[in-house]
Symmetry: C2
Subunit: 132 residues, 2 copies
């Protein structure tokens, strides 16, 4: 089952500027920089309670995150809900006729993730995750 | 300082339909329904790790949440970051020249909240909170 918010992604045009700005908030940071080639993004993440705050800068104009930013602007991209068993959760989701987008893939730090159909959640992109 | 994600708000047109849909996710729910008259919204919230997931249905077309939904559609509205001392955090934020939107107000359950200027965070509406 779902146990917590695993991470939340915000799209930004310039990762360095975004990190500087977020670190002005007391208690936010330091950020770890990374790159996720399968999604063509650079990322910077920091711990926030039991969640990660992840800033995402698209690198390739044709990637899914870049297309989302072109359509909706900078800001919220997706919320990833942490599960204690991704396979069991997905079985349950499929029984409820909630669609999946694509197939399971590796996220940052080899997090195993599966995107759900945002139409099922009133345009909110929800993803299920299990840490490996 | 900021310690965790206190709550995250998603705008929906129909609260009952949204709750039914979210509760299809294993581990999500039950939701508590409430109303916040100062913001002209109905809400349904559920615990998600150390955060609250809050679904928000605007009631008055001229309210701030309703205007946001008209402009951006359903979906992400704001992220509220929990602090252990809101006054101290706001002092620090002001020193960093980050603007505030409006003044401190009571949120759901008398949470004390202060909205920050979304322009400072690349269009993301961030709010600071302290539980009372």
């Amino acid at each position: 089952m779902i146990t917590h918010i695993h991470h939340i992604n915000f799209l930004v045009q310039n990762l360095e500027n975004a990190v500087i700005q977020y670190q002005k908030l007391p208690g936010i940071g330091p950020f770890e920089f990374d790159q996720l080639e399968q999604r063509a993004v650079r990322t910077a993440k920091t711990r926030l309670g039991d969640a990660w705050l992840v800033l995402v800068q698209p690198l390739d104009k044709e990637s899914i995150p870049a297309r989302h930013m072109r359509e909706h602007g900078e800001g919220f991209f997706l919320i990833s809900l942490g599960t204690n068993n991704l396979e069991n959760c997905l079985e349950s989701v499929k029984k409820s006729k909630i669609g999946l987008i694509g197939s399971q893939r590796a996220g940052l730090d080899n997090w195993q993730v599966q995107d759900l159909d945002p139409k099922a959640f009133f345009s909110t992109q929800i993803q299920l995750t299990e840490d490996n």
